[in-house]
Symmetry: C2
Amino acid sequence: MSETIGFIGLGNMGHPMAINLLKAGYNLRVYNRDISKTQDLVVAGAKRGVRPRDAVEHGGIVITVVANDEALEAVTSGNDGLLAHLGPGGVHLSMSTVSPATARKMQQLHEQQDCFYVAAPVFGRPEAAAARQLWIAVAGKAEAKQRVHRILNVLGQGVFDFGEEAANANVVKISANFMLASAMETMGEAFTLGEKNGIDRTKMYEMFTQTLFACPAYQTYGKRIAEKNFEPVGFNMQLGLKDINLVLDSAKAAQSPMPFASQLSNRLLAGIARGRGERDWSELTRGISDDAGIE
Amino acid sequence: MSETIGFIGLGNMGHPMAINLLKAGYNLRVYNRDISKTQDLVVAGAKRGVRPRDAVEHGGIVITVVANDEALEAVTSGNDGLLAHLGPGGVHLSMSTVSPATARKMQQLHEQQDCFYVAAPVFGRPEAAAARQLWIAVAGKAEAKQRVHRILNVLGQGVFDFGEEAANANVVKISANFMLASAMETMGEAFTLGEKNGIDRTKMYEMFTQTLFACPAYQTYGKRIAEKNFEPVGFNMQLGLKDINLVLDSAKAAQSPMPFASQLSNRLLAGIARGRGERDWSELTRGISDDAGIE
């Protein structure tokens, strides 16, 4: 196993993913805007580029894990961008959470250059990335998915295929974030009703997450919400609002009303207005306590 | 084991529960408004009463599993009611889903007669009742809970204690129903967004219920919602609306705003207005498809 792949974006998520690829025997060419984050990877054998395009081998595979749509466009387009150097048959494996609209545009841009854009956004926190416990939704042309198949299995514990339209994987990803936020609001409302009736929130949490709702989404976030302990910050409220608004944009474009998503957008916006934008997004449930006149 | 206990209410839930108590060696005195439902129990050794009070032994234990608050009041109060005959030290184990307000009133009434009211609403469908797979939330005076401890363990697979205020168990129960309806609305919105983007609803269902939402609530209802196949009817939309409105009544009394619950009340009401009141409550998600202009 000595295939060389490019890796762009070495933040909280990208860095442990790159490490896992090195461990699996891949040669890496890495690029990150903040060069300090490439240090240990270079020590471990990765080559470092000074521009995004330096991470790319002609006709090869390049992975991007960046913060948002703008960052994806910045590393992809222009003279220094990866697309300028990817060439026919090359595969851009885009693992960031971006909007379906951006994914659609990216897929077209890549096809115009006879290369492939595969969307493969991941589900899981940095610890899950490090432990190769990510879940991955993938969508793109079949032959390109075939080429990245082993890479995805190195990075995650399960891969779900959503067809050839890259954007569909992003619809699934933002839908998952909507479903998480919705579960949080639901628990927040239920626990607060209990609390105002004199019931211990953590007892409700225990019953629900051992029975009907015995799953990671409820267990992980429910504990924070029951205990009103929102540390440490995993994914902040600003980012949460961004994703819920991607859902609403997509819903508007598709003409698919989503009243829960609308409520969540307002809930997160209120949290940000109250100065909680940098706090974990599970703290959106503090707005429920606020509205109920309690701490 | 030859203790005699009373059992009132032999509907879809009560009947299999009574059977399980007989199998566990209890002697039963049963009462049901529709006498035909007592037939096989009498064959199996139960004694049948013609009035609710006939099911009660002085100072004994009597279980009620009835449809709603009115039915509970009907079998409890008046000359023919169980309370007239329960006597000091007797325990009324009330396993129906009723309002916290009714539970509060019942507990007071029983205490005035020196007997006990224990609320123990159950979680699960009739199949779960038959298989002794119910989950039970219990609340009431400690000595009374102690007396019914073994009975609850015969009927369910797990018992969660919510203290001495009987009404609290009912708050937990209606909160669970709110959380179920909320999970349904959430999946309906997400799957419909996917569908309008050309994604297979069942693929979204599969990914979510194998990963973040791998729990009974999402797996059971999600399959129906993804496939838009709402048969058979387990719990209908009329009953769903009744429970969500109990949540909203309780939320109003406790001054605890619940925007998701408000949305669900309107969603269910719209479903009933469209003639779906007798259909399974998971069909509330058809309203999401309606609003998106699809089947």
